[in-house]
Structures are given as C-alpha cells and as structure tokens.
C-alpha cells in the first residue's frame, strides 16, 4: 500500500469576475495529476517557478483545498478535521525559512509548539527532544532563546527542518528545503534527511528546482511543467536518458563543471501565459521537435521505457 496516493488532484484558482462581461475560466495551477509514493521512498518533484509544484505541496498538507481529486495517506482519505492527527501524519518544510518563523517567538517556543500540541509532551522530555533534534540539524543550543531575525537564511531553514522533524511525521513534504543553504550545509542537511528517512522509515516528497540535488536524494523523479506531469521515472535514468524534450532542456541547462557555456535554447523564449494557455502541449512553443499535432492535441502520459512515463507525442529515443 502506498504511503501517499494522489488521484486526479487539481487546483484551479478562480479569476475574479469582471464587473461587465463573462467570468474568466480561471488559472489551472495544477492540472489533474495522479501518482503514488511508496513507504520509505523519496519522490523528487522538479520544475521551474510557476509550474505548480508549491501549489501541489500545499494541497498535500491540507493548507490549500484541492479543486478536485483525492489524497490518501496509508490508504485513508486525508482528513484535515483534526489538526493534531494530521500534523503527526504529514509535515511541511517551507521554502522561505525566514517567513515560516514567527518573528515574535523565540526558537524554543517555535520548537515546542509541535511537541506540546501534537504529543502533549511534558517539559523535561521536550527539552531533551529539542536538544536531540538541534544536535542533528547542526545548530547550537544557545540559539534556542533568540528570535528568528537574528539568524541567517541557512540557519533559519535548519530550524524549519528541525520543527518538521519534531512532529515525527510519516511523510515530510520538503519544498525547496536546501535552496537557501550553503553547499557545505546543504550536503549535511541532505545527508541528515536521508539518515532520518532510513532510521524512521520516513517518506519524502522532495520539491526542488536543482536537478543535481534531486538526482542525489530521490528514488523517482517527477518533472512538472505548467501544472502537468511531463515525465516521471527512476532518478538514475530520467536525466541521463530523458524521454521528454523539456526534461532534456532542464538537464542541458544545469551548470556542470567542464561543460562549455552555451544557452541551451533560443534566446528570449517565454513561458506560456497561464491566463491564456495554449491548446495542445504546453511546451510546444519552446520545443524543437514540435509538430502540428503538438499544437492541437494535449499529450497524455505513456510508457516510454522501464518504469518511465512521458507525456509527449514525439518522445526522445535513447
């Protein structure tokens, strides 16, 4: 049984109806998508800004109501009625570490909240647990009595991760958790996350724009473009042998030591307009392989290789 199962999940943000004229159709931030994450697995979600990855994450933790579709955790439909029960099941590490900490609370108060509200832990135990977590995320305990504005982005994000760890959930949604961290610390945190996963059998949904990071930590990777899944497959294969031209473009854009500097696509290409989405494949406007078919028919996810699916009319062959 998958730890997390999503069926036909979608989010449409309604656009305010103008005073005169018909209502606009709304922005499809996430188009209906389905996937499952096995217990102990890390599913990487990659995509550029505006592709809907944060909207997806917020729906998964119940901070945003889905327009349609269902979320199941451990075979049970997601029930957000009891926040305490829900917080013990699934936690979220935020993208912006500074704004995820209340500026008027000390770090100790921030860290104690999940322990108190979710586990009703007595004071002595809370202190022990906080020191344990702080040690594991490489933070000094003297930080506990300081306020969030005294920390660098990197330190604040480690506090955010520590807070999610404090709730000891089964699933953690990591929304760009290391993009604010320095590389030496990033590696510490990624390794820590992977240790914790092994130790507690955690399941991760790892959202990032950094392909090298996602490849290093994920079992499988899902590539999002413009609110839809364009490719999903084993982390090992997906960037080495991409089926979708967008995945190939992403892989070709990542800066790599020893590769000469070239712009991987035509200069000045722009993302499609979400208010006025193009018919057919959303990537067709940037795609060198696009044909007439791509501009009229929306492709669906098809098997293109061993455990690899891509939504493309003309997938790349290995």
């Amino acid at each position: 049984m998958p730890a997390l199962k999503v069926t036909g999940l979608a989010k449409t943000f309604s656009v305010k109806k103008p005073l005169f004229g018909a209502a606009m159709p709304g922005v499809h931030a996430v188009k209906p998508l389905s996937f499952a994450v096995e217990p102990g697995e890390t599913l990487g979600v990659v995509g550029e800004s505006g592709c809907g990855k944060s909207t997806l994450a917020r729906m998964l933790v119940g901070l945003l109501e889905p327009s349609e579709g269902a979320i199941e955790i451990d075979g049970r439909a997601l029930d957000t009625a009891d926040p305490a029960k829900f917080g013990r099941l699934i936690q979220y590490v935020f993208q912006d570490p500074q704004s995820s900490l209340n500026p008027r609370k000390t770090i100790r108060q921030v860290m104690e909240a999940p322990l108190k509200r979710l586990y009703y832990m007595p004071r002595r135990e809370r202190e022990a647990r906080i020191s344990e977590i702080f040690a594991s995320v490489n933070l000094r305990e003297e930080f506990l009595d300081r306020y969030p504005h005294e920390f660098s982005g990197g330190q604040a994000q480690r506090i955010g991760i520590a807070r999610a760890l404090a709730a000891a959930p089964e699933i953690i949604i990591l929304d760009e958790p290391v993009s604010a961290l320095d590389v030496s610390v990033q590696a510490q945190v990624l390794n820590l996350l992977s240790d914790l996963r092994r130790e507690f059998g955690l399941t991760y949904l790892f959202i990032t724009h950094d392909l090298a990071v996602v490849e290093a930590v994920s079992d499988r990777v899902m590539v999002l473009y413009f609110g839809s899944v364009v490719e999903i497959g084993r982390a090992r294969h997906i960037f080495a042998n991409p089926s979708h031209p967008y995945t190939q473009l992403l892989a070709g854009s990542a800066p790599v030591v020893g590769r000469p500097l070239t712009a991987p696509e035509q200069k000045g290409t722009e993302l499609p307009d979400p208010l006025n989405p193009p018919p057919g494949c959303a990537f067709a406007g940037r795609c060198p392989r696009a044909t007439e078919l791509c501009r009229t028919d929306e492709p669906i996810l098809k098997e293109t290789g061993d455990d690899q699916l891509a939504a493309c009319h003309h997938p790349l062959k290995d």
């Binding site: 995820s100 900490l101 509200r117 590389v183 590696a187 950094d210 392909l211 960037f239 800066p255 790599v256």
Partner: protein, 621 residues
C-alpha cells in the same frame, strides 16, 4: 523590561512625552491628597480671578471656583474616561478585526460590512445619537465614544491581520497542531499588538478630545462635576473677557494628547524586535572609513582590492567580515569569488563602492583602487559619480532592487540621466537599445512594463541592462542567477559571457555555485571567514584544489549524473567572525589540521597565479 525602558528613553521625544505624561498622571492621582480647595465650592465674589492671585494659583472661573483644583480633578476624570473608552474600543475593535482578517471570506465580509455601516454615520452624530438614546452622563458618554471608535480599530487591525494570516508561520502553526483560537492568541496577537498599542496611544488622545467634546456640548459630565470638556464649555462665554479660564484647560488637553502620542510612538518602536537590535537605523550614504596603518600603493590593475578590512561594530563586538582581502581584475576578465554565506564575499563587493551600511559597517584598512585611484579615501561626491558609471552592480533579487511603482524604461532612463545630461527622449532611446542588448523580446512593448509584469528572468535582464546603462568598466555581480530557474540561468550566464567578450567588461562574479564559476570565470578566489584561502585559474583550482576547504567544498556540490548517493559534507559550522581562532580559521573543521595550524598567522603563498593559505596543502603549487 529594562531593555525596553532603555530603548524607550533613547528616543528623546518619547522620553519627553513620558516625563510630561507622568507628571500629569502623578499630580492627578494625588489630587485628592493635595491641600486643594473644593473644586465645586462656589464663591461668586471671587469670580474671574487672574492666575497667580493669592490663594488661587491659576485663578478662578465664572463661579469663583479654584481653577487649579478643578483642573486637576477634571483631568483626572477626563483621563480616566478617555483611557477606559480607548481600552474598551481597542479590545472590542481588535477582536473583531483579528477574527475578520484571520478567517477571511464570508465572515470577513459580514463583519466588515457591519463596521462600514457604523462608519457611514459622522462619528459625533453617532455619539450624540447614542447619548440621546441612553441619556446624558459621563458613563454614557464613555459608551458612546468607545462605540464610535470600534470601527477604527477593527479596520486597522483587520488590515494588519490579513497581511500576517497569509504568512508561512501561520501555516506552520497550523501544521504544528494549533487550533484557530490558539493561532489567533499566540501567533497573531503578539504581531498585531504593537499596532494596537500605537493605535490606542493615538486614540486615547482622540477619545479624551471626544469626551471633552460631548461634555462641552453638555452631554457628558453634568454640573457641578468638572472635566476638561465641561470646563471649556463653561468658559466659552468668557473667552474674550477672561481668556485664562479657557486657556488653562486648553493647555492641559494639548499637553495630555501630545505627550500620549509621543510616548505611544516610542513604545511602538521599542516593542519592535528589529529595532531592538538597531537594524532599522538609517545608514549613511557611504561606508564609514577609519583606516589604520599605511595605505597600499597604487597598481596598474583596472580594479584592485588591496588588503581590505571591513568590520561591523555592533555594540562592543567587532565582526571582522573582511579580514585582509586582495583581489584584482583586468579588462575583459571574469573573476569568480566563491564562498559560503558569511564568508565576506558580498561585503568585499559592497566595500568597493562604499555601499556597506554604516552604522554598523566600518572600513578599517586597505584600499580599493580603480585605475590607480583610491576609492576608499574618496569623497562622497566622487564616489557617487563613479557608482553605476564606472563600476556597476547586479544584485541577487531583481524584484527587490527594481522600484515597483515605476516602469522599467523610466528606471533605466533614470540610471542613465543620473550620470549624463540627456533629454528624456534620448534617454528612452538609449534604454530601448539596452533592452535589445540584453535580448528582451519585443523591447518596444516591454519598456513600459512595471517590474511585477515581468518574469524573474526578464527582471534580471533589466537589472543587467541597468548595470550596463553607463557602459561601466567593471560589473560586480552578486549571485545574479541564484534566484532564477536553470533554463533562465543558462540564458543569463550566456548573455553575461557575450557582453564581456564584446565590450571588454571586467566582471567580478560572486557565487556559491562551482558549476557556474567553471563555465563563466577565468580565475577564481575562494573565501572563508573573511579571507581568501585559495586563488588561481579556474581549471587549475577546480581540477586540483590545494586548500582542504576548497577540495571539500567542491566535493559537497552534487553533480548531475552522479545518481542517488550520500554527499560529502563538511562537519561543523563556519566560525563567527567576531571571535576568530588564531592561525588557520578552517582548522577546527579540517581533518588534516595539526598543531602548527592553530598558532600564528598563515600567509597566502604560492607561485604564479596560484596561491593558497595552508601549511599542508593538498597539492604542491
């Protein structure tokens, strides 16, 4: 609490307000104990005595009552009613506002339309109507004044709450298992409280005025009871003949309202944790310079940073953010400055043009020479003319460096006109050409966009166009692609590379990404804890890093194509720069450190273009 008071009294106006208000408060509180005459005892024979007459320090009113006594008793009453009304209005109004702002949607709509209805009546009319319905009297005046001020608090607090309710820490609190009531009380309220306090401090004054107004009209305190309003009301008929009867309560109202407002502002500022650490103090136009020791001699480099020391003086602590950095660039060269956050790379870059915020920043030594001219010792006017003209910056986040209310074309034109006398049309033509240079598609239409109408990549192109506006010789790019998507990053890097080849620009590129450095830069310098630990040609350093820090930092960076794996990490944290260890600053985290590493200064040594600050380097150079 002592910290709070210390901060409060550092603000001189607030201190004055506090002193005046406490004198008033103390004197009205002890008024019943003072040897004053009966405020209500009439003596028509002594009417309209001038101030400073025998037995009547402030004179008497139209019934011969002692003005000093009436003033103190009246102020006591007015203050009490005003404060009570303010507390009542603030409590009810803030509760309504927080609930509306936090829940939003239909609840918000319902509550706020009700508040709007209350606001639709002129407030004095509404107060009159309430008093008319309840009958005259001080208590009813208090109720009326409080009710009339509820909408003010409700709207104010709702606005603040809406902004806060969308913040991520509220989401985080929800995920930590907090219920609505707890989130409102423990997460929102502490953040809203300063707004409530400042709103209250301004409205206490208002409400004293309003109760005075109602009493003035005869609807508040009933004779013979004195409050400030009724004193004014009774003195009205003698305004011309005996002005002191109106001036005395008038001055008291002025002093109360003024001191409360000054004190309220001070309290708000002292409550803000950002102000507590002095973060919001306004910086000077250029970094403070306090150089000790000799200034290094001029070189032939285009831009040379020589033994630069930049420090932050916070209280008694001195943070040595940059501890003796020397760098140089030639025309057409790209120098990569690599380091983690806190390594001093951005401070080094900002020191070049004196852009480090002062206070707390101080340049404590060294020189920055542009074509041999020392910029650290330069006057502000000289520096201002160089900024953006000869040396330009590109910053990390284009959204926060562009002004949100001006069109990008206007901002570009402004950057040009700051240095060159050009007409508006000429500047616009130049701006258009710049947009073409940075390859913005359809520049004729894009020039009239506002920053929010552009994508992150487009905004960063505007940032680059602005840096290029005056054809500078050096561009300092501080993590210009960190906030961008990979496909956009690749485009921006390719653009920068083309520009420097076409125009012979020198670029100092600050980043933490070795992949980016490898693709763009000719030479790199690696910084750690405010010092350069290694420098040399990019390929040489990346292929055979000599400093253990460089070597391990490169190993930390995951590279595409490596598959799922554990990454190399450097244990520990970079040192805090106000307490650097002697010897090698990396020694505490280095697995090769020996005793010699921990004592004595280690110099940056090497041959040719390569240099390393290590006693036992990984490679012989």
């Amino acid at each position: 609490m002592t910290v709070f008071l210390g901060l409060l009294f550092r603000n001189r106006l607030a201190a004055i307000g506090a002193v005046v208000f406490s004198i008033i408060l103390v004197s009205v509180l002890i008024a019943p104990l003072l040897p004053l005459q009966d405020p209500d005892a009439t003596a028509t024979a002594d009417r309209f005595q001038r101030p400073f007459t025998e037995g009547h320090l402030l004179g008497t009113d139209h019934l011969g009552r002692d003005l000093l006594s009436r003033l103190l008793h009246g102020t006591r009453l007015s203050l009490g009613v005003g404060v009570l009304a303010a507390v009542a209005a603030a409590t009810i109004g803030s509760a309504v506002g927080i609930v509306a702002g936090y829940f939003g949607g239909r609840i918000d709509n319902l509550i706020m339309r009700g508040v709007d209805m209350l606001m639709a009546f002129p407030y004095i009319l509404l107060a009159l109507a309430i008093v008319a319905a309840l009958g005259p009297g001080l208590m009813n005046a208090l109720i009326a004044v409080a009710a009339v001020n509820v909408p003010f608090f409700a709207r104010n607090i709702r606005g603040v709450t809406v902004g806060l309710a969308g913040r991520e820490f509220i989401d985080a609190a929800r995920l930590a298992g907090m219920g609505h009531a707890r989130i409102i009380l423990t997460e929102l309220l502490p953040n809203v409280l300063p707004v409530i306090i400042i709103a209250m401090s301004t409205t206490v004054g208002w409400m004293i005025l309003e109760t005075a107004g109602l009493s003035f009209l005869g609807l508040g305190s009933q004779p013979p009871q004195a409050d400030l309003g009724s004193m004014l009301g009774e003195a009205r008929s003698a305004l011309i003949s005996h002005p002191h009867t109106s001036i005395v309560p008038g001055i008291m109202i002025f002093l109360i309202v003024m001191s409360i407002n000054l004190l309220g502002d001070g309290v708000r500022d002292a409550l803000d944790p950002r102000l507590r650490s002095g973060a919001l103090s306004r910086p000077r136009a250029m970094t403070l310079v306090d150089r000790k020791g000799a200034v290094p001699t001029a070189t032939t480099d285009l831009l040379a940073i020589q033994d630069l020391h930049t420090q932050f003086h916070v209280g008694r602590r001195i943070y040595r953010a940059v501890g003796g950095v020397s760098l140089s660039v030639q025309p057409g060269e790209c120098l990569g400055l690599v380091g983690e956050s806190g390594s001093g790379k951005s401070v080094t870059a900002l020191s070049v043009m004196g852009l480090v915020a002062s206070p707390p920043g101080v340049i404590a030594g060294g020189a920055v020479r542009f074509q041999g001219e020392d910029l650290i010792g330069a006057r502000y006017e000289r520096l201002r003319r160089m900024r953006g003209d000869r040396v330009a910056y590109i910053f990390q986040d284009p959204l926060s460096t562009l002004h949100p209310l001006y069109r990008v074309g206007t901002q570009l034109a402004e950057a040009i006109q700051a240095h060159h006398r050009l007409s508006r049309t000429e500047a616009r033509t130049r701006a258009l050409a710049l947009l073409k240079d940075v390859r913005i598609p359809n520049p004729e239409a894009r020039i009239d966009n506002y920053p929010h109408e552009m994508s992150g990549g487009m905004r960063q192109r505007i940032g680059i166009a602005m840096a290029l506006a005056n054809e500078p010789d050096v561009i300092i790019a501080d993590e210009p692609t960190t906030a961008l998507d990979v496909t956009v990053q690749a485009q921006i890097l390719a653009l920068l590379d083309d520009l420097r080849r076409d125009r012979g620009l020198a670029i100092i590129f600050i980043t933490h990404d070795f992949g980016v450095v490898a693709q763009l830069c000719d030479r790199i310098a690696v910084m750690y804890a405010g010092r350069i630990v290694e420098q040399g040609p990019t390929r040489a350093v990346l292929d055979a890093p000599a400093h253990p820090y460089t070597k391990r930092l490169i190993a930390c960076v995951p590279e595409l194509g490596g598959g799922q794996r554990a990454l190399a990490a450097i244990p520990g944290l970079p040192p805090v720069v106000d307490d650097l260890p002697p010897g090698c600053v990396f020694a505490p985290r280095c697995d090769k450190a020996r005793q010699g590493c921990r004592d004595g200064e280690i110099t940056l040594a090497g041959s040719g273009p390569r240099a390393v600050r290590c006693l036992y380097p990984e490679e012989v150079i």
